[in-house]
């Protein structure tokens, strides 16, 4: 088996990287894939909280790279999905405790056993970001439909291009169709027009995301929510499936067309 390493990064903080990693991981694992998530945000770990695994942590990634435990011992198995694992970040160390080549070595080891290795990058473009992208086969950039987030995404894309990394794909998170319709939020087209990279997912603003994170139960497991469906679609697209985008932005127009058609 040779797993694929997918790094989720953004430049700007708080746009939904950790949320995306947890949900895509859950979606991939519920399709029967072997998945491990690595929390690359050393010093500010929170992937374990969102996945509801905080109380099971014994060893963390710094223990692995410093040889205090075997990789297996630091892999926490998910409560619901037996093929889903998490390697948590160290809470009390700084990001210099891990180097880009440590990450490459760790991922090479994991590739042999896993289908997917998802890395949650910290915000910014410093050491933690470079650790996270060093082993990446694919990079997913998360942004919000908001100028400052898009600007930072552009910066990160430029750095990846300069380093000749594989072309990244884009996740537009927290899209609010009503605000777009009123002209108060950038649309998917506006974002694409500036960044011009492949869009792999469009996730609506959804308060259930926050509820689910607080419960430690990523909502990709929830069949009904639109955001959950959007994350499941991203997982399927990663697997190479062609999945149409959920119609978020033009719902009103769509409804009207359906109604018009129905009247005849």
């Amino acid at each position: 088996m040779t797993g694929t390493v997918v790094t989720v990064t953004s430049g700007k903080g708080g746009v939904g990287k950790t949320t995306a990693v947890a949900n895509i991981a859950v979606a991939l694992a519920s399709e029967g894939k072997k998945v491990v998530c690595i929390d690359g945000d050393i010093g500010l770990r929170n992937l374990d909280v969102i996945m509801g695994l905080e109380n099971r942590i014994v060893y963390d990634i710094v223990d692995v790279v410093e040889g205090r435990c075997r990789t297996r011992q630091a892999m926490i198995r998910d409560k619901r999905l037996p093929e889903l694992f998490l390697i948590p970040a160290a809470q009390t160390r700084d990001k210099n405790a891990v180097s880009p080549s440590d990450m490459v070595r760790l991922c090479d080891e994991l590739r042999a056993e896993m289908d997917w290795i998802l890395i949650d990058s910290p915000a910014g473009i410093e050491r933690g970001f470079r650790n996270a992208v060093a082993p990446a086969d694919r990079v997913l950039i998360v942004t919000n439909p908001e100028m400052s987030a898009v600007r930072d995404a552009d910066r990160v894309i430029g750095l990846l291009e300069a380093e000749e990394k594989p072309a990244p794909s884009l996740i537009i998170n927290r899209l609010n169709p009503n605000m777009v319709r009123r002209g108060d939020m950038l649309s998917v087209d506006d974002v694409y027009d500036l960044l011009r990279i492949d869009v792999i997912g469009i996730v609506p603003e959804d308060e259930n995301v926050i509820v689910a994170s607080n419960r430690g139960m990523p909502l990709a497991l929830d069949g009904k929510s639109k955001a959950g469906q959007a994350f499941r679609n991203i997982a399927r697209r990663l697997n190479g499936e062609q999945v149409p985008f959920i119609d978020l932005e033009s719902t009103s127009l769509w409804d009207r067309l359906v109604k018009l058609a129905g009247r005849k």
């Binding site: 210099n96 470079r130 552009d154 430029g158 300069a162 000749e164």
Partner: protein, 235 residues
């Protein structure tokens, strides 16, 4: 050869300045890393500027060195070189390329500042730098001749050129043509919607355009920056 003859280290305001000798790149790089390994405590946490002389370095070489330094707790923040290849590589990687540069965004450029804006050998107003891709936010290209971009210049990207700037794409970032005082310099783009424009020491913030984009050229006319459609009515 003794390694010390390959490397000179000096404390400067911004950290350490390391000047590498003219040895072939792999030799120079190895010498630097050996020197660091000999005195890890001295180098740990340092901000390093590297003067590589005329070495022409590409992305793979600079990123490899940056990562090697980073693993030793050293931040590479500037690469100074007389080679335009190295300079462009460094700029695209977001590294500084001038140690005591005047900040063109604050100080008005004048001929007296030209000492701090050194001209690499063989580069004058008639040389052009080819940039074959979109310049994204955070990239800053500085060049003493003309700059030609095949791609867009995104918001947050900057071009500072001694000569003219031609953008075969959408110009939405910050550009400064004739930065050393050349008032004949022009700025052209297929779609001109920059954050700010400068030619020599004149500054303009173009109004928001409505309607379809068209190619435009900006130049100084009667002391004012003016944009006109290209090709225009007059020759």
């Amino acid at each position: 050869m003794a390694e010390s003859s390959l490397i000179q280290i000096k404390g400067i305001r911004d950290g350490l300045l390391v000047t590498l000798g003219e040895a072939a790149w792999p030799v120079a790089q190895r010498a630097l890393l050996e020197r660091i390994e000999a005195q890890p405590e001295f180098f740990k946490g340092a901000r390093l500027s590297l003067d590589v002389g005329a070495q022409a370095l590409r992305t793979a070489e600079l990123t490899a060195l940056r990562d090697q330094l980073s693993e030793r707790g050293i931040t590479l923040w500037a690469v100074v070189s007389t080679s335009p290849v190295t300079e462009t590589t460094a700029q695209l990687l977001g590294l500084a390329t001038r140690l005591f540069k005047p900040s063109p965004s604050r100080e008005a450029p004048s001929r007296t500042s030209s000492r701090a804006f050194p001209v690499a050998k063989g580069i004058d107003d008639e040389t052009a730098l080819w940039v074959g891709k979109t310049l994204r936010s955070g990239t800053r290209i500085e060049f003493d001749g003309h700059v030609v971009v095949l791609g867009d210049v995104n918001p947050g990207a900057e071009i500072i050129a001694g000569g003219s700037i031609i953008v075969w794409g959408r110009l939405r970032g910050f550009v400064h043509a004739g930065a050393r005082g050349n008032r004949q310099a022009v700025i052209c783009a297929l779609d001109l919607a920059p954050t700010q424009l400068r030619v020599a020491d004149e500054i303009a913030v173009p109004p928001r355009r409505h309607g379809k984009p068209q190619p435009e050229m900006v130049r100084l006319k009667d002391g004012l920056l003016q944009a006109e459609p290209w090709p225009g009515s007059e020759k």
